[in-house]
Structure formats: structure tokens, C-alpha cells
């Protein structure tokens, strides 16, 4: 493992009064070398605080963060030799400097000369399609270009670990897609990446694993594929020939609380705790003389998984499906 976050907590005292806000509470997770980890959670869940604590920008109240065997609180600067980050996207740049000057400046701040990075700067400008804008001040670039440049600055650091806080936030569909493709290429180069995002396609496309944080606590930590599988295998769509009567629907919902009826009144969606419960559902429908037109597993996307976990509609069992185990710390 290259990053280990162990029992990390952070509380803030509000300016007025003694009220304490819990930003991160006893969070633990680890990231393996070359892994792409998605850090998810609603606004204010504690994702950004967690990322900034890994960067050493915020000091935790308790717990330890180890980066490549280095304690990032005791030897912050040494730990930073292994980390680069895009924390506030396009706001991480100097708007009066050109794209090239920004790249060279941040490389200089990492102790590298302009000459030593010139070739790499050219490569990055080329691969990020910013060659034409190299001499343009950042203020004149589009938001998408600025975002790409911010990512290029992080890449120029040449670190093994890259932390990205909301890399696609505020981008239009096309630019969001371009940035996602860039991130895919970066991931393919073997970097260890932590992405904090609300952009579920990014998670589904790029992340090997995801840690979901809600109210400062880790509520799920598993491979993306496992979470999808876990939810997908137990979610069914049942298409009926005719709508059910109201009391019949109520009886169904009493037995299966997660059951919902589509607005057209004939399609039931149900998430089952165990696969065999589908037989109980069919048996109950049979007693209603309801005719089934079709029965199938639903295709579920990661957004649905995320919402169900965060809203508490789904508890992840301690032993999930697939080869990896779901780790839950609620």
C-alpha cells in the first residue's frame, strides 16, 4: 500500500460560540500502489478535508496518514515529494502568467530548473492540446483549458501519487469528457490516484475502488465493480399486465419496503436483501392473480448505488459478493 489513512479525525470550532463541527470522524482506508480510488460523498461529507489532510495542508486532530512509508505530519515536506494535487481546479493557477509560465513556475517551486522540464512541458502541452495556448495568459483560456492546465501542472511534478479534488466540476459535457479521457490516460500510466468527485461516470469509468464518506464517516469501502454487482444482482424489474389495486400494492410494500411502482402503474422495482426473496414476491403476486409480462434484473448505474448508500436505503453487508469484501464502518 502507498497511502494509509488510519483513524483520522478533524473537528473545527465555529467562529461564533463554542460549537464544534465534525468534518472527519475516525476515517480509515488504504490505497494500493497504482490504484485509482474514488472518494465520494455528499457536499460537506468530509472529502475535501480528507484529501487536504493527505496533502498535509490540514493537520488532523488525531490519527495518522502514511504516504509511501512517510508520516505526513512528522515529515510533511518529504511526504510531499510523492504527492501532487489539483485542489481547486482552475483556481490553482496564476491567471496573469501564461500556460507555459505556470508550468515552469510550479516546476521551479519543486526545485526543478526551466531547462530540465522544457521537454516535459512541451510533451504535456502537446498531449493536453494546449500547444496553441502556451503563450496565452491563463485569464484568457476557457475553463476547460484551465482545468487541463491545472492537471498538467500536477503531472509535471512527476510524482507517483496524484490527488484530484472535483476535476470535472463546472465543465461542460464535451470538456468533461475530454478531462475524463485525460484522467484515463494518466491512470493507465500507473499513477496512484485519489479522485474526489460527484461525477459518477468518472467513478464508474476510472476508479478501481471507492470510499464513500457521509457526515465525516466512511460508510462504504469496496471495489466499484463489487458495489455495482452487489446492487445489480438484487435489483429486479417486474412488469405486470395490469395495474395492481391500491391495497395489493400496500401489502407488497409491507413485505418489501424497498419496492417502488413506476408512474405508469405496471412496473415494480424491487431491491431484495436475498435473491430467493424473488420467489416470495412472485408467490404474492400469484395470490393477487396478477399476470407477469416480464421479470428481469435491472441495470443499475453507480449514481443509484451511491444515492442508496448515502440515503441509508442500502446497508452493505459485511460479506459482499465477488472476490473482494465490502468493508463497512458505520
Amino acid at each position: 500500500m502507498i497511502i494509509s489513512v488510519q483513524k483520522v479525525s478533524k473537528h473545527y470550532r465555529k467562529r461564533a460560540g463554542d460549537e464544534v463541527v465534525r468534518a472527519v470522524d475516525n476515517v480509515s482506508f488504504a490505497v494500493d500502489r497504482g490504484e485509482v480510488l474514488g472518494l465520494l460523498g455528499p457536499n460537506g461529507a468530509g472529502k475535501t478535508t480528507t484529501i487536504k489532510m493527505i496533502c498535509g495542508l490540514i493537520r488532523p486532530d488525531s490519527g495518522t496518514i502514511i504516504v509511501n512509508s512517510i508520516d505526513n505530519q512528522r515529515r510533511r515536506l518529504q511526504a510531499l515529494r510523492h504527492i501532487s494535487a489539483v485542489l481547486e481546479g482552475n483556481r490553482n493557477l496564476y491567471w496573469r502568467l501564461t500556460a507555459r509560465e505556470n508550468l515552469e513556475y510550479f516546476a521551479g517551486n519543486r526545485g526543478r530548473s526551466r531547462r530540465s522540464v522544457r521537454k516535459r512541458v512541451d510533451e504535456l502541452l502537446e498531449s493536453f492540446q494546449l500547444v496553441d495556448k502556451a503563450q496565452e495568459v491563463v485569464n484568457n483560456l476557457s475553463r476547460g483549458m484551465q482545468q487541463k492546465l491545472a492537471i498538467a501542472v500536477a503531472l509535471l511534478a512527476g510524482t507517483e501519487i496524484i490527488l484530484l479534488d472535483e476535476p470535472t466540476l463546472g465543465l461542460d459535457v464535451e470538456t468533461g469528457y475530454q478531462v475524463r479521457e485525460l484522467l484515463r490516460e494518466i491512470a493507465a500510466e500507473g499513477h496512484t490516484i485519489i479522485i474526489s468527485t460527484h461525477d459518477m461516470p468518472v467513478v464508474q469509468d476510472l476508479c478501481h475502488r471507492t470510499v464513500i464518506i457521509d457526515d465525516g464517516r466512511v460508510v462504504a469501502d469496496d471495489r466499484v465493480s463489487n458495489l455495482l454487482k452487489l446492487f445489480q444482482t438484487r435489483a429486479f424489474d417486474v412488469k405486470l399486465a395490469q395495474p395492481l389495486a391500491e391495497d395489493q400494492l400496500r401489502r407488497l410494500q409491507a413485505k418489501f419496503p424497498a419496492l417502488t411502482m413506476a408512474p405508469e402503474g405496471t412496473t415494480l422495482r424491487v431491491n431484495l436483501e436475498r435473491d430467493e426473496e424473488i420467489y416470495h414476491l412472485i408467490e404474492l403476486l400469484r395470490t393477487f392473480d396478477a399476470r407477469l409480462q416480464s421479470l428481469g434484473r435491472t441495470t443499475i448505474d453507480f449514481e443509484q448505488v451511491f444515492r442508496d448508500i448515502v440515503n441509508g436505503r442500502k446497508q452493505i453487508p459485511a460479506d459482499g459478493v465477488g472476490e473482494a469484501r465490502a468493508r463497512v464502518s458505520i
Binding site: I58, R59, S84, R96, G108
Partner: protein, 257 residues
């Protein structure tokens, strides 16, 4: 070598931004010259004719140091607060070279460029006033070096306060008046100011340039006071800055404004 690269990157950035923010730079120079003219004609109107020449030379040196103090020290506060607003402050803190070194490089860059600009402005002031200061470059460098080091200590102090409190504009404005005292009050009138930062260096520079005192006449006590003051204020400023930095990180204030 890596430290040299940090310095060269930051000095280059300061120079580039000074050119890109040209209207800002020009307005600073215009206000420098306007303030000099106001004080110069004020002196001519109500000053004692017997000491006029010495007073004008005193004014030229004092005005240059006053602006140097404002540009070199207050600018650190403005830089930190604007970096926090822009979102670049955290990126500076992501550097494994350490923020205090980056800030030091910035201050050196800012001071070097400002010393060059002030030299031109002093020449312009001399031409305007028709009064010529004695310029012994080697002696000046020897006195200015520790003076500027002390100034950087003050820069760290202001930067540290800005890291924690961010909105320190009111303090920076008050500081401008404090700087007037530091730049214009001679040590012979207020000997206690010898304990204040930078004042000893300004006083010695004045003795060199206004009164024509040769470097050899500067006593060991003067040198000791100058170097001790520079060392103390630089060290104190740096320690204070590191303290504020830790406080800002503990409170998660680096990105806040």
C-alpha cells in the same frame, strides 16, 4: 541547486507580474513621485533656509526607504491574502521545498526589483531637487544588505499574521504610518528606535548619503547593532511565520479567506 531553482522561478514570476500589472507599477511610481514633490515643495515653502539642502537630501533618502518598506513588507501581506483568495496558496504549500523558502525567494525578488526601481526614483528626485547624494556603492551595499534582511523578517511577520487572519488590510494601512516614523525619524532624535527593526540601517544609510560619513567611520557598535537587529528580526519573523503556519494548518485556514 534545487533551492536556486526555487529562487530563480520566484524572482522571474515577480518580474513578469510586475510587467503584466504595468498600470499598477506605474501608479506606484507616480504616487512615489507625487508624495516626494508634495514634501519637497512643502519644505521649500515652510522649511528653514539654513538647513534646506540637508533637509531635502534627508527627504530623498527617507522617502525611498518609506516606499521600500511599504513595497517590501506590506506586499507580503497582500500577496498572501490574494493567493488565498485566488486559490494558489495551497499549491505553494504543496511544494516539498517549503513555503518559507518560496516566500523568502519572493521577498528577495520583490526587494531586488524595488531597490532597482527606487534607485531610479532617487535619481529622479535628485534631478528634481537639484541636490546630490553621496553614492558609494560598496558602502551602500554593505549597509543595505543587513537592512534588507531585517526587512524580510518584518515581511515574514506580516505574512504570518495574514495566514491566520487573512483580512489584515487595516493593519497594513496602519503599518504605512509606522513606516513613516521608521524612515524619517533620525536616531539622534529618538535613540530608542535603535531597537526597532530596520531603523539602524536607514540611519546609517542616511549618514553615508546625506552627511557624507565614510564607511570607515562607522563604529563596531554600529555594525554590531545593525547586524544583531537584522539577525534578530529575521529569526523572530521566521519563527513567528512558522508558528502561524502551523496554526493555520491546524485550523484549516490555508484556503479560507
Amino acid at each position: 541547486m534545487s533551492l536556486f531553482n526555487v529562487f530563480s522561478a520566484n524572482i522571474r514570476k515577480v518580474a513578469i507580474e510586475m510587467i503584466r500589472y504595468l498600470p499598477n507599477t506605474i501608479s506606484l511610481l507616480v504616487s512615489y513621485y507625487a508624495i516626494f514633490l508634495a514634501m519637497f515643495f512643502g519644505l521649500k515653502t515652510i522649511g528653514d533656509p539654513a538647513t534646506m539642502e540637508a533637509n531635502i537630501r534627508f527627504l530623498i533618502v527617507g522617502n525611498a526607504f518609506w516606499f521600500l518598506l511599504i513595497l517590501g513588507i506590506s506586499s507580503m501581506g497582500f500577496e498572501i491574502s490574494s493567493e488565498a483568495t485566488r486559490g494558489t496558496l495551497e499549491q505553494l504549500y504543496m511544494s516539498p521545498e517549503g513555503s518559507w523558502r518560496i516566500l523568502l525567494a519572493r521577498m528577495i525578488g520583490t526587494l531586488l526589483i524595488n531597490v532597482a526601481i527606487m534607485t531610479l526614483m532617487v535619481m529622479l528626485s535628485m534631478v528634481t531637487a537639484g541636490q546630490w547624494l553621496r553614492v558609494d556603492l560598496a558602502s551602500l551595499v554593505l549597509i543595505l544588505l543587513p537592512t534588507l534582511i531585517g526587512m524580510m523578517g518584518l515581511g515574514y511577520l506580516v505574512a504570518g499574521l495574514t495566514l491566520v487572519y487573512k483580512q489584515v488590510q487595516a493593519l497594513l494601512q496602519i503599518l504605512q504610518f509606522v513606516f513613516v516614523g521608521m524612515a524619517f525619524v533620525p536616531l539622534s532624535r529618538a535613540p530608542f528606535l535603535e531597537l526597532a527593526p530596520v531603523v539602524k540601517g536607514i540611519d546609517l544609510t542616511r549618514q553615508l548619503m546625506v552627511q557624507g560619513r565614510p564607511l570607515a567611520d562607522i563604529t563596531v557598535m554600529d555594525w554590531t547593532s545593525l547586524i544583531a537587529s537584522a539577525g534578530f528580526y529575521f529569526t523572530f519573523g521566521l519563527i513567528f511565520f512558522r508558528f502561524c503556519e502551523r496554526r493555520a494548518m491546524a485550523r484549516g485556514l490555508l484556503a479560507h479567506y
